[in-house]
């Protein structure tokens, strides 16, 4: 099958490549671009481990072809840190609140939570839980992931994070 030339911006850098139409975006990111932070979990659009941010939308990159991302602006987990290399509020939240155990779902969780907080900087707990309902974690029971996002929300809003009493 003839290959198609694609160009896109990934984490601020212009990238290009030759892809078959059937190449999934997640394979292009992991194999062509060698950015393996974006994970492949279920491969059936359920788990959200492969979530990347495309033109302001959280998208499961296993359910989109690389040719469809031609010309788009993508942010992956590799692009989540602050410009000076320090941890972003979300990354810090996951670290401080122990928002991960095995870590497999974490890239997708953080990229998804990034867009959630862009759209709503002060989500309620229920809004956080609905907001990450397309991301499955099999370790944590979500409790500390929710806290991590609440931590990031507080930090973004310049207020001190108060853990809710349990």
């Amino acid at each position: 099958m003839a290959k198609t030339h694609v160009t896109m911006k990934v984490n601020g850098a212009e990238v290009e490549g030759l892809v078959e139409p059937r190449t999934l975006l997640v394979h292009f990111i992991r194999e062509n671009l060698q950015m393996t932070g974006t994970h492949i979990g279920c491969e059936t659009t359920h788990c959200g481990a492969c979530t990347v941010d495309i033109d302001g939308m959280s998208v499961k990159s296993c359910t989109m072809f690389a040719v469809q991302a031609d010309g788009s602006d993508i942010t992956t987990i590799e692009g989540m840190a602050n410009a000076d290399g320090t941890l972003s509020a979300l990354q810090e939240g996951f670290r401080m609140m122990h928002g991960l155990q095995c870590g497999f779902c974490t890239p997708g969780m953080i990229v998804r939570a990034h867009r959630l907080l862009k759209e709503n900087a002060s989500p309620s707990e229920a809004e956080i839980r609905m907001g990450i309902s397309g991301n499955i974690c099999r370790c944590t029971g979500y409790q500390n992931i929710v806290k991590a996002i609440q931590y990031a929300s507080a930090k973004i809003n310049g207020v001190e994070f108060q853990e809710a009493a349990e």
């Binding site: 099958m1 139409p21 059937r22 491969e43 659009t45 359910t63």
Partner: protein, 287 residues
């Protein structure tokens, strides 16, 4: 999982898309949000030789008013539906149901056109469109035609779409001011299809139901309009006996498959409960 090989086409107009579809014949499939088709392709349950991606057609996106109708372009995403104040105000049931579809990531990509055109009995929008009296605009090389949602579904994945036609927009009459509506969906978890779901759109006058339509999701090989159930509640105040009658009339036309969501009897039973709850909630919201 990697899909089979295919050629990728990205037309910029409906005319070009329709021409590609008719030139390439049955080996070509239109691609909307891709959240039904792409997983099927990865499982090799669908192996189209050509994909015609509709994302390049700007005319297929957006929500506009046309007389008393909201016209929703086929490539309008569930996320865009949820962001529309027009939708939230004029037909809150669409907003409510869109929130129950899949998960946030899927809603950024999933489109109303794909949802209604695919013919999947598990999809939520078709029963809604039937209960709202919507029509679909279908365009092919022979021109455009409008088909009522109520006449569109013929079997599971089998619709009134002819080869070479694309569903380009959905036109939904704005329900009467003061109407009440509700979509009750029982599902096992976020992202699941309904075990059973019911859409109700009604108006009340003097404490009694004046008009009512009821749509049912995933309890038959097609979405259903529960006409007898709706008739049973007209002129009543939705007392317990009436609700029981309406649920029974709805259950009588259900023929769900026994699957992981439960045996036939269970799915019909909860289908009746969804009808009851949707009627009560819609009536409470009506003015």
């Amino acid at each position: 999982m990697i899909p089979g090989s295919f050629s990728y086409h990205r037309p910029a107009s409906v005319a070009d898309a329709v021409k590609l579809l008719s030139d390439l014949g049955e080996d070509a499939r239109p691609l909307a949000g891709g959240h039904s088709l792409v997983p099927m392709m990865k499982l090799r349950l669908a192996t189209p030789a050509h994909l015609i991606d509709l994302h390049g057609i700007a005319a297929l996106r957006g929500i506009s008013r046309s007389g008393n109708n909201l016209v929703i372009g086929a490539m309008t995403t569930q996320h865009e539906l949820l962001a529309s104040e027009d939708v939230a105000k004029a037909m809150p049931i669409l907003h409510e149901a869109a929130l129950l579809i899949a998960d946030p990531q899927v809603r950024y990509r999933g489109t109303i056109g794909g949802n209604v055109a695919n013919g999947d009995p598990g999809n939520d929008m078709p029963a809604l469109m039937m209960s709202l009296g919507a029509t679909y605009r279908l365009e092919g090389s022979g021109g455009a035609r409008d088909v009522a949602a109520a006449d569109f579904y013929q079997g599971a994945y089998f619709t009134a779409l002819e080869p070479g036609e694309i569903l380009t927009s959905v036109s939904v009459p704005v329900p009467a001011a003061g109407h009440g509506s509700a979509y009750e969906k029982l599902k096992r978890k976020v992202g699941d299809y309904a075990t059973a779901a019911a859409a109700v759109v009604l108006t009340m006058a003097g404490g009694k139901v004046a008009t009512c339509s009821i749509g049912l999701t995933n309890v038959h090989e097609t979405p259903l309009l529960a006409t007898d159930a709706a008739k049973a509640v007209i002129g009543t105040s939705l007392d317990a006996a009436t609700l029981k009658k309406a649920a029974a009339a709805a259950e009588a036309i259900m023929a769900p498959a026994a699957d992981a969501r439960g045996p036939v009897e269970y799915r019909k039973h909860v289908g009746g409960i969804m009808v009851t709850r949707a009627l009560q909630r819609a009536a409470a919201k009506a003015k």
